[in-house]
Symmetry: D2
Subunit: 429 residues, 4 copies
């Protein structure tokens, strides 16, 4: 697979569901399935099709978002982590995620998993084998390369014989399970070491040479702008921030991050604003300063977030338990105008920021989208002349949440604090 | 003028001549004219049309690239620097650069000048007036904002009444002279303060509101990637490096800089690799570790440089004395294939770097360009399968320097150290 | 003068009064004199003997602590700043500070002044002479070396002929005025450049070679610990912090600074916690977040501060208007036990810090001092066994504020928030 | 034990032998004994009395200075590392280092060992017990606290119940073996985390409360000056540099380090310049860019080093195999003047550095020592007037290497490159 080919695996930003925001490290097969079923029934036609099992599906005692340091992990004879059978019964007898993958595919959906950079510490301490080689875990480990927040793995020394084969053996295993999407963690940034570029290169090559069509997502953020061009050549998406949760300050800060990363948005390369912590979250996750709850974002903030993520073309992974989804949130996810902007918009760009009034724009052959955000806590009147940033004749303004239309290019509108208006504009032919 | 409009002023990367590499701070009107005339006769039809008078045209005693600290500067009653009449005789009687601008325009060329960020220190110490206001220089100065390498100016405090009027008065003056291109210095980066973003904003607004069509170029580098998106909204070009001269290490390092900045290249926004220190340079400049000389770059290095600058779509400003130009260098500047790649290529990108073999690609609707660089000191055999990065059928490979054509997509070639081959490939219809 | 000799000029930490905390940059001769007279009458016998005129005595229009950017300064023909005669009438006819110095000496006191690092910008722009040389200000200026917060001066390039003579001419002038104490500013630290070590060396040599006995004090802080050993060889005192004012957080933070700097305290080298913002301050100073006021420190905080400063052996310069001094504060300054500890204590050291209970110790041949500080906002019971840090037999505990004595070495005491108890212990012979 | 008491354990800087420079991680009991015996016979009367077994005495397969990542370590049931019996036969049957300690004590010497900060990774992965508690290794481990250069240990979380007991159990074990000197590594600095202050505090308290008289030495360097005052309260010695070897550049750089650390030298607190890589070194160590060799230092450099270490009062641990010691080096170690300066000098201080001529001074009640170093590669004439830094009458100058005496206080001498002269001066009574 070439760079052009791997980018075509994600011609538009991936959309789907991820288990982290509600279940932390502890999601079960049953929970995955119920979310997959909901997705098939209510969201698939709107383009949501990835179901992603996040971190530590190989840890039998995982029960929240808190990691159990040095816990015994399910592992095969080749130093590869395997699903914990008590949590994923269909993985019994070495079947791995193949049965779950098959089930998800049977619903017309795609299957994603999470993996940590490196090789399990228990593989290194027990010095287990590397598939297809005469090497063992200690031959390829990078001593003292660790993850700062999780004890599962050591890093891999990519210069060592056997390292390449190890990463390839992982991809082959995941490919055989039917994995369509791989989120690799502790790799895009590390507070101890910065980004682990060598292991990103090795992962890229392993996927390319495997023949499997696997979308590659890198975590955690913040990735460095210095690595932006590198990441475009090696991954489909990468995180802009550390874990994102339902508090305003994080959403507020995302605007500046998106502004800086916008030049890197292109087909197949999607800087990632992280999951949508909406609906019913924190069910067994205790991260983000909350517990079992409905999202702490107001409706205005939720629209603000969806509008930014969609215009910026971030991947959209819902974080809440789908089977508990309320109508208002479901409607937001199904908003056809947002979806159209997310899929069709090109060259997203922040075109103006005066104090807390922020304006973004994107464009397709037929349309222009303008999003006016009020990031202030108080109501503001926003005046904006669309001609300033849109060349040529335009007509047909539609505000996509209120469905109000406008007959002039000079917008004057009142925005409550933490509110957004998004205008969809048809270009005149 | 809107952002879209100012970007259209430089739909393709500007090309021309700049006085710095040969004359430092000391160029004279006669020298400017002789270069303009040469440009009209030999380079205009190849797209070179800007003639730029670099720094300190307002300093009567300037005689090299060394600045005279605290020298008396030619200045008008409104705190605006004026051409030194001893160096630019046509500027006598307050005419400023209008006569020189008219002359350059009469040749069918465009006229560019350099200016330092801020307001002259002598204006502040003498507390002179700001045009169109009741303010004086001390009212708008930003105390203790200086340039780390030149004593001409203090910074301007953009929050002060009169600051906006001052910058606007500069643009109005330059516009009245017929200035088409403005290179503002001590603004894109400063070793003391980082980039001066507020003054960049004020400059942008002054130009936009003036109605003058002036291309804006920002110096010096290295600009920060953190400011990349900001710079796209405010300038036509900005420098990636500190001053660039004719030594291999600087050229070598430019590859990594270009790799990181490539995502920011787009119509009207041209990250700038700096002038081409080719031909006869250092005539009165003593910067760059050299003196009056022919460029120290080998022919291979010159082709390497032109190929990178052209593929990356950097602005191309020749730095040598044009009237002394040799045939080999002139041919290089007139190479129609390079010119075509520079003007028509889109989305330049480094697609591979293994050790010192570097491959770049750009593309237009009809063509693909591949540049294979050997940055090593010794000869290397390079094998490259063009299918890896070019989707679809391709044919018709032409190496643009040797004019050799290739009948297959698998390139195998030998490159001497510091050499380049550039392949132009016609897409099959 | 050798290093041993200049250190003997300040065998104990200097004590006195400084004009900054009440008058900012604007003190007048009359105000200086009234403070000097009060000092002679009430504080001289307690060891306070320096009267220091702080910054900008050469600026005729100075009227607060706000600097007037680029104001015209009083200057002699040799580029040396002279007292503004409107503020210091006795300086008329070129007499400089000689009459004021004589007056202060006539009271049995010592005379100190402030000076900014470098050479006046107006000297450089007017290119005035350097005494005893054929050089002018532009010959010795360090272009683009400025103070980040004041526009009076440019730095001096110590490698230039004339630089040494310039600094020597300053010291000779100050010496001829009878200056006993010189506080040089913008030199121990600079947010733009770090410490200006070369100019410190040149100042040291100028004083040593001049034969004048001038105590050298360096500002502002925070000086770097990396320069600690260097500063010991070049100055009598240097600041640990940026300007210190009457707010608890700054006092709280001083404990950690003192802890780190304690190893550098020795005869003739006194790390400086800055002036005491006590009594009536802010009379024309608007720094420190306050205006004309009595100190915002509570009595407990004032005792805390005096105890730390005294035990740590910081210089003690009172910052309030002495003629308005209340009895309580006067008694604090006259506390003989504090004074004895400040003058006689050796090797001050923080010996314990658990949460907000901090214990310091110093020692002389006859005595030990223990200071127990409660930096918490709420009352705490402190239990401390003095035998832990005091070897040998001890007896005779006296708490110096309450005058209570203790008959045992195990101290158990209750401290209100922001309170201190200081125990003076006689060693047994 | 109080701070005063632990400092009295090392009233003068410790001297002895350490196994690292010749044997890396692989020294054997026999080698330790032969060095101890040599020390008793030739160096004990000169004050050398510590015999220190450096890192990884618990690793059975250790055979050089290269660590074996994740090797199985000898460990007792309480997660404490034990001597590898194949290397230390007397440690059989759980005797630990008691027999070796007894042997060393029988020679009139003191016994030192090395230990790594933290708890063995194998204890954590096997979750073994903590002595005297119901906790296990996983209860007290600090997840993801590692050593950047060795895989033996994880850090300990000092806030966890059981952490204090673990460190105390180590000290009790070492104390029961007769350990007089403990060098703890990966603690004074870490390229990943900086200094591990909490674990230093816990070690200090464990020793103080144990009742064992154990000198505490902290590695590796460079310790931070910011921690200097902290280290004085917690350890007897700490390293100024990363590992020091026999190359001139490291020796050259040590002068600046010593200059900055000199204010922290006091009884019981000895900033540590690291072992003396002299004589026969690198026998099984491959660090320091060398192999089995005689020191690469010239005789001039060896004298330079010994003079600096001695004047600065660094601990002096010989790194070469003592039984192979040549007469010249032995004489250097036995130089009574150096020894006297090392033991009796007070307040070492660099008093002058002009280019590469560096002068240090220290002083006792009876004597002054002046060391003149030429750090340049070429010969220099040095003129120095001793009166500059020595107050009072002095007489009787003796150069301690040449035994030449001087009859005047103005020294004028020629120093070859990398040479030193040390003058011992008797104060006149």
């Amino acid at each position: 697979m070439t760079m052009e080919q791997f980018r075509r695996l994600a011609k538009t930003p991936p959309k789907g569901w991820n288990s982290w925001d509600c279940y932390g490290a502890s999601v079960t097969e049953e929970e995955v399935k119920q979310n997959a079923e909901y997705m098939k029934n209510h969201l698939l036609e709107y383009g949501y099709d990835y179901v992603v099992v996040d971190i530590q599906w190989y840890e039998p005692t995982a029960n929240s978002s808190m990691y159990h340091a040095y816990a015994d992990l399910e592992m095969d004879e080749y130093s590869r982590l395997m699903p914990a059978v008590n949590r994923f019964p269909s993985a019994a007898d070495g079947a791995g995620f193949k049965p779950l993958g098959d089930y998800i595919h049977s619903l017309g959906l795609k299957f994603g998993i999470h993996y940590m950079r490196g090789i399990p510490r228990q593989a290194v301490h027990n010095n287990t084998a590397i598939k297809g080689t005469d090497k063992t875990a200690r031959d390829i480990v990078k001593p003292n390369s660790i993850c700062p927040w999780n004890t599962d793995m050591y890093g891999v020394d990519t210069t060592k014989p056997g390292a390449k084969e190890y990463y390839r053996s992982l991809i082959d295993l995941f490919g055989s399970w039917g994995v369509d999407f791989l989120k690799v963690d502790d790799i895009a940034d590390s507070k101890l070491y910065g980004g682990h570029l060598e292991e990103i290169v090795m992962l890229r090559e392993a996927i390319d040479e495997s023949g499997y069509n696997i979308v590659l997502s890198l975590s955690p953020g913040p990735a460095s702008l210095e690595h932006g061009a590198f990441l475009q050549k090696h991954a489909n998406m990468w995180r802009l921030t550390d874990d994102y949760w339902d508090n305003w300050q994080q959403l507020y800060n995302m605007f500046e991050r998106c502004e800086k990363w916008a030049p890197f948005v292109r087909e197949g390369n999607w800087p990632d604003c992280d999951m949508l912590p909406l609906g019913h979250i924190g069910i067994r996750s205790v991260d983000g300063g909350g517990s079992d709850r409905l999202t702490r974002f107001t409706k205005g903030e939720q629209k603000t977030m969806l509008s930014l993520w969609s215009l910026f073309k971030s991947p959209l992974f819902f974080g809440g338990e789908l089977s508990d989804l309320d109508d208002w949130t479901l409607n937001l996810l199904q908003n056809s105008h947002l979806i159209n902007m997310h899929q069709s918009g090109q060259n997203p760009e922040q075109i103006s920021r005066k104090d807390d009034i922020v304006i973004w724009k994107s464009e397709s052959d037929e349309k222009v989208w303008l999003a006016l955000f009020n990031l202030n806590d108080t109501q503001k009147t926003v005046i904006y002349n669309a001609n300033e940033h849109i060349l040529g004749t335009i007509n047909d303004f539609l505000e996509i949440f209120s469905r109000e239309s406008l007959s002039q290019t000079r917008i004057q509108t009142v925005l409550a604090g933490h509110q957004v208006k998004v205008y969809e504009i048809h270009k005149f032919n």
